[in-house]
């Protein structure tokens, strides 16, 4: 027959283990680490990787309504936006480095200087049909050709099954592109 002793010394030992588990062997170092981690998180998620929750169906099926993603603000520091990139576009003019709370989430289909048109649901860039593997549903859109300026990109959502009138798309100034969608 075995007997377990649960005296004050064992309680003390378990309490100290709990303390070590929660605060580490050196609480001061743990506190500094936690503070540094908190600062890094705030800087990263407020200024660099902006968390965004998609609202609406204009980017389905690529980005579902309600899903959470990130916009990388450093993506275009060394190169310009590319065709096919999904980007965050601010609604208000840029104001320093402050991050917008609300953005459009669209895909770039036209680059500066190009001419973009919709013809029976197909995108024509400089008169040539653009292959769009991300665009799944049926589309019957027609829109006159638009020529982009030196700092303009043509952006549109992936869901072209919805009515054109309800879909926000068109020319976006480079300065309004906040960053590239991550994940």
């Amino acid at each position: 027959m075995t007997e377990t002793k649960s005296g004050p010394s064992q309680e003390l030992r378990s309490a100290s283990w709990l303390r070590i588990l929660a605060l580490g062997r050196n609480p001061k170092t743990t506190l500094i680490r936690a503070a540094v981690l908190a600062v890094v998180c705030v800087v990263v998620f407020k200024a660099v990787l902006l968390p965004v929750r998609v609202q609406g169906i204009s980017m389905t099926p690529t980005y579902a309504d309600g899903s959470v993603h990130f916009v990388n603000r450093l993506a275009y520091l060394w190169h310009e936006p590319q065709r096919g990139d999904v980007v965050g576009i601010r609604l208000t003019p840029p104001n320093g480095w402050s991050a917008p709370h609300i953005m459009y989430f669209k895909r770039i289909i036209g680059l500066p200087g190009e001419t973009v048109a919709f013809e029976n649901g197909r995108v024509l860039v400089n008169g040539l049909i653009l292959e769009e593997p991300y665009q799944k549903g049926p589309c019957d859109w027609n829109a006159d050709a638009v020529t982009l300026g030196a700092n303009e990109y043509f952006v549109v959502g992936d869901n072209r099954s919805m009515a054109k009138e309800e879909h926000v798309f068109g020319k976006a100034e480079r300065s309004r592109i906040v960053g590239k969608a991550l994940l």
Binding site: Q55, I89, L91, P100, I102, E166, F169, G170, K171, R176
Partner: protein
Amino acid sequence: MKWLRFLLLAVVVALGVWAWMALHPDPERVIRRRLEGLARAASFEPNQGSLAKLVGAERVANFCSTNVDVNIDVPGHQEHRLAGREEIQQAALALRASARGLTVTFPDVTIQVSADKQSAVADLTLQAQVAGERDMIVQEVKVTLQKIDGQWLLVKLETVRTLR
């Protein structure tokens, strides 16, 4: 007792700064507060009584100058052109009668105050959620304000197409 003198001096200086800021508020801060007030006035709860609707509509109109010009063109919705405070009040009342509830916020605001500090232009994002509707209305808006009789009032409000 030297430290006590320093403390008193610090308190006096802090009070002086606070009083100066209270008497001479930064126009940008005043406009921001004004826009927040407008968003609150434009929002309304469902099942409001007739009197509350009337008071709410009047509060919205009070943010505008007598000759205010409003042009709202949101994709997928009917275009509205309103001129004058009276029309704003009527429109606000009609909205309260037709919609079950509305929540308005201006999350991103950029303000440019003129050199004479008598007029300002605010670029902002309008976020509106109509009660019972799944999708939120998000729209870029440009607001022109003027200081009239010591108060910042809306003289022009127009929606802007971010993507042209």
